[in-house]
Symmetry: C2
């Protein structure tokens, strides 16, 4: 069910309405009246007749008119009954302020589930519980109580009331922008992040979505929706609880699962989300993205008066991956004509005091710079807005002229301008004018740089729409009958681990190159298999009771002759029996020794927030010591494997270093897709670990494969099997 009637409610019942001005049930009504909400307001309290001039109802069921939304301000234990009544009344949604649910542990969680069940029965949608409330800013439907929320086109989704208060205060004091909605999502008991996102994607009053997230309960659905949303509207997100300490703090705060940052960071980026770590940058990034055209070529010109700010800005932009291109020769010539001889005209452009007697020079330079086709956007840093203060008061009129010209220029050329000014504190008129034209002004150089950087990041994303589509999950792959038999066979034996040859068989079924492995039950058979395989072979024990084969003396490498093989077989079986006399020994796996190549590792696991994810890294030290790995949420698209390879720092190794030939990257990519398909097709799999895989110049060898199944009874996706 859509959120239309909930977030655009035409009538509100306040349950727990009060005449006591210290109570939320009083303040809520007062706020709605003061802010000028035009819908119906229905106080509900059996002990009162009238509150703030409005008739008060004993129960929500006593209201004759339609009620779209109920604001519930009563304590946790009263809620189940109230939701029941709301349901009977046909209310579309309820905002539950009270805490005392999931965030306090098991008992609270049970109560929360009870409420959700009641709500689902009647089709009542719930915001919260444990929320600061909700505001539809343009319709003055303010159920939070924060006053003077500036109107604008940014939708705010938050898991902290204080952080929201912070952002709203910041907007009011420092910006001309404002909000379309405020939603405190609270515990996400019913309505989840992705549903709000879906609503805002369609909402005409919203141009950008600003999120403060401590934990996502439906990470995967969130990513899918985010992919769709970011194609048309930017999402700016601060995910806190990244660190162990932060995540402990978030846990006690909202009861949300705090995220594994590595998986989340990549997933958010792939979904086109702008992630922010410094809270100072959060509102400004949303402000810039909601007001300005994005930059598709990642190229920015810097315009300064004096070198210091320009140099720092160059460093910060470079850190953000923005390029500061040398300007075209014609542009440099045009700048030379109007600037003093000691000015720098390559980029950064330093007017070098040339604006001291005429700050309108900034508008001339801005025009020349934005007419250069190499330049995607303009960052002006330093002193603009303060020439009237520093030198002569009359200069402020010239600054105002420049502001008008730059504002109109930006509209015309559709390239963004962002301004950093030391004089932002002084609130001069020229700076106010710039804001009128939607040119953001910041006193922080760091924030100004970040803002132009996010315009580049988002512009880069929307300029390459293919990427996004690849992130939408198609759970299309089907299990194969034989594959299902392998898994069921293990399950029947009470095993959660597939034996190496079973795992390899499963991989082979889905197209992975493992055909040269065979299980031999006798020494003689082993020798025969070895002969058929040719070259050096390796023998490994096959037993469900021996998982760490090397520890049990169950591995022999570099076997050349039939005699070697027979002897190794006997020794291995002997060792295995000594290691575990009860072990069920099924024989030895005979495989060809892997040739020369680069060892890589492919693994999968089930992330608590995002579900199945796949990991890729280059084997040995680079994974174990340097932790140079990359995680992608599964399943992956056909273009994803090559991106994964490129994302690790040690990628050049795959192209051949120190005189070695490049390895078969196509084969690695195919294997990544096969693994994705298997995880997709067999939801019983908990973890897969292909370690090592040796990538050769041509093809690859899966040296070992370990597949762990889920515990029986754990809920998972339903599998589809091809017959």
């Amino acid at each position: 069910m859509g959120l239309e009637r909930v977030l655009r409610a035409k009538s509100v019942a306040v349950i727990g309405a009060s005449r006591d001005d210290r109570k939320r049930g009083f303040q809520a009504i007062k706020t709605l009246q003061t802010e000028g909400y035009e819908g119906g307001i229905y106080p509900v309290n059996p002990r009162e007749k009238r509150i703030l001039g409005l008739r008060c109802y004993p129960s929500i069921l006593d209201i004759q008119d339609t009620v779209d939304l109920a604001l519930i301000t009563t304590p946790a234990d009263t809620i189940p009954g109230i939701i029941e009544a709301c349901g009977k009344k046909g209310v579309a949604g309820a905002v539950i302020i009270a805490g005392g649910f999931k965030e306090l542990g098991r008992r609270g969680k049970t109560m929360e589930e009870k409420i959700v069940r009641a709500a689902r029965r009647y089709g009542v949608r719930i915001i919260g519980p444990n929320t600061s409330g909700m505001i539809n800013v343009h319709e003055n439907l303010n159920l939070v109580g924060i006053r003077d929320v500036p109107k604008g086109d940014i939708a705010l989704l938050t898991q902290s009331g204080n952080v929201a208060l912070h952002l709203i205060t910041e907007a009011r004091l420092k910006s001309q922008k404002g909000f379309s909605y405020y939603v405190g999502v609270g515990n996400e008991a019913d309505i989840k992040f992705h549903e709000y996102l879906e609503f805002f994607t369609e909402d005409p009053s919203t141009k950008a979505i600003l999120m403060y997230v401590e934990g996502l309960s439906e990470g995967r659905k969130f990513l899918q929706q985010a992919c769709i949303t970011t194609a048309t509207k930017p999402i700016i997100l601060l995910k806190s609880g990244r660190s162990a300490a932060g995540s402990a703090s978030a846990g006690s705060h909202t009861g949300a699962l705090a995220g594994i940052s590595e998986v989340a960071a990549t997933a958010f980026r792939r979904a086109g989300i702008i992630t922010i770590e410094n809270p100072d940058e959060l509102f400004p990034a949303a402000e810039s993205l909601s007001s300005l055209p994005p930059i598709s070529n990642k190229r920015v010109a810097i315009l300064a008066d004096g070198g210091g700010h320009a140099t720092i800005a160059s460093d910060l932009l470079t850190d953000h991956g923005v390029s500061i291109p040398r300007l075209r020769r014609r542009t440099q010539e045009r700048l030379r004509e109007i600037l003093p001889p000691n000015a720098a005209v390559r980029n950064p452009v330093d007017v070098a005091g040339g604006a001291d007697s005429d700050p309108a020079l900034f508008a001339d330079c801005a025009k020349i710079l934005l007419e250069d086709d190499r330049v995607g956007g303009l960052l002006i840093v330093g002193l603009f807005g303060g020439y009237g203060i520093r030198f002569a008061e009359s200069l402020k009129f010239l600054e105002e002229d420049a502001a008008h010209r730059m504002g109109k220029l930006m509209r015309k050329v559709q390239k963004p301008i962002i301004l950093h000014s030391l004089y932002n504190f002084s609130q001069t008129h020229s700076l106010e004018l710039l804001r009128y034209y939607n040119i953001p002004v910041y006193d922080s150089l760091d924030v100004a740089c970040k803002c132009i950087a996010v315009l580049c990041e988002y512009g880069h994303k929307v300029a390459r729409p293919n990427r996004k589509a690849s992130f939408v999950f198609h759970w299309g792959a089907r299990a194969k009958k034989q594959g299902r038999e392998i898994i069921e066979g293990a399950q029947k034996e009470g095993r959660r681990v597939l034996l190496e040859h079973e795992g390899k068989a499963l991989l082979e079924l889905h197209g992975a190159p493992v055909s040269l492995d065979r299980v031999a039950q006798t020494a003689e058979e082993a020798a025969q298999v070895a002969q058929e395989l040719g070259g050096e072979v390796v023998l490994k024990i096959v037993s469900p009771d021996i998982l760490h084969k090397t520890d049990a003396g169950g591995v022999r490498l570099h076997l050349k002759t039939a005699q070697d093989v027979r002897k190794a077989f006997q020794e291995i079986v002997q060792n295995a029996k000594a290691f575990n006399p009860e072990a069920d020994i099924k024989g030895c796996l005979v495989s060809r020794m892997a040739g020369e190549g680069v060892e890589v590792i492919i693994g999968t696991k089930v992330d608590e927030q995002f579900g199945p994810v796949i990991m890729f890294g280059i084997g040995g030290i680079l994974v174990e010591v340097v932790k140079d790995v990359c995680f992608y949420v599964l399943p992956i698209s056909r273009t994803a494997p090559m991106q994964m390879l490129r994302e690790i720092k040690s990628y050049p190794i795959l192209n051949g270093v120190r005189g070695r030939p490049p390895v078969d990257k196509q084969a690695i990519c195919s294997l990544l897709l096969t693994v994705s398909e298997i995880i997709e097709a067999y939801p019983e799999i908990q973890e897969m670990d292909l370690n090592p895989v040796v990538a050769h110049e041509d093809g690859l060898t899966i040296v070992d494969a370990r597949i762990l199944l889920k515990k029986k009874g754990r809920k998972g996706r339903k599998a589809k099997t091809t017959s």
Copy 2:
């Protein structure tokens, strides 16, 4: 000569004094008068009689009284003559405002050198040229022209006038702290950064030194002085020009050498300098370090009202390496007694609305928290200072009481408190009170976190004073006679490269383990040497004309028998002759094959700012692809090598991974010290490259050694030779 008379001048001549109020020569005098400078002011201009009520002199030589300092406001080409006159007058220092010197290229540089020579002749010290000027704030000696510089105890050293203007404006608007000095160092033609630093280290009015640096002309001396300074006073430094774009911008700005960030970052850290990258954090960090006791145990408590800010703060502090320890049980119990049941008391502490009716609760919590011996400092985040605004006006008095109590608490327990407040904009009285007690208040959560983090960083530094001493350079090592002969021998032959056996001989002379290498001139001799060495050997061509031995077919590995060796010798010589028929072939180097171990790389080079530096990394891919290396400025102390080993990410490899034994770290450390000694003793060496060095479980093998000498005629340190 000290800077006493320059920076504390009792009299100032303004050369280029003017009656035109648009001229610097007018403004400078006006500023000195307005600000209340009590020393003598002597305008100098041959065309004027009186300026601003003061007698004007035709030349500085016409002034009868002593003149300590000359402010020169005239253009570049007039300067040499004026310096000459200043010298004759016995002036101690001159501030040269004009640009047009080193920063404009060769001609400017020549003129700059001319000025410096004149100044040195007479003992006149120069600030600048190309500087915004100098201010001794407490003595109202303002030669910059920025008004209302707040008085305080931070000395500001800057290479950008705008950045300085920014910091001063910020201090005035947002802080109760201020400055003791302002020095625009300009081109550092005469007085260098380290000399100012030395002055401020002794200056009683200065408690912290705030620096904005684009490039250092004497990096090494700067580090030496910084080491001494940071033992007693913190240095807070923003080094811009880190990126290629930033460094290009800096180059055109001050003509300074922009830094190689990798070397600089480590060197600054070792010298105990607090480096800042986000300019928003620069003044606040200096403010905190100049006002608050540092934290020696890196442990901080977070106190919040509501979870969002606490969670973000936990993340940011963790990023900065600050720990957020679980509080002692007794502390948690004491908090429980005064906080509501839903409060969090482990750390972060969340009062969870408990302060809504009594914000003085913050003072109670602060006391309990700072009495916990696990807690080194306190960060309060969120809403303090705004309870009187949010809830009831009367609460502001309780907030003020809390502010008094926290202020006095901090004085008593000598542990710092830093406050983040959403209501900082509102300038409430309680926040003003906190500032009065030297508790900094920030509206940026990021800045507040950074400030408590730098207190930890500096506290950690001063708590371990040994480290600092190790950074002071002793150029004590002496060359050996035989070593000098090796180098001179190569130079006589017109070579800049030492042959491998020469390099190894030099290393051996200084104690490195290379004794198993010998040059053989005939195949027979090679076979004989091989037999003496025993085991497998390697043969490598020895020829000054063949540097890339492998390319010339000049290397043969794994030679076992005398016959193998003879054959290899002949082939190598044949290949070498084919490769370069003119080559002067001196024979083959016979070495034992290196055994099992980990390949490491040790190299040295001469950094443009910091002189000789040494690099350490683990060989192969980790250096070449992952760039996991560490640079230290040479020479290094006895404790430095182990620190270098630990600084690379792949350090665990040296302790043995994947079943391998640990390598002989002591041997690596000895070799690093030997290399340091050699670079120290032979200033002729430009670069040394020991690549690879194989570190074994016991000892190591230097497989290849390449030593490159400086070009003849390049100036370097004077060598000392032991006879």
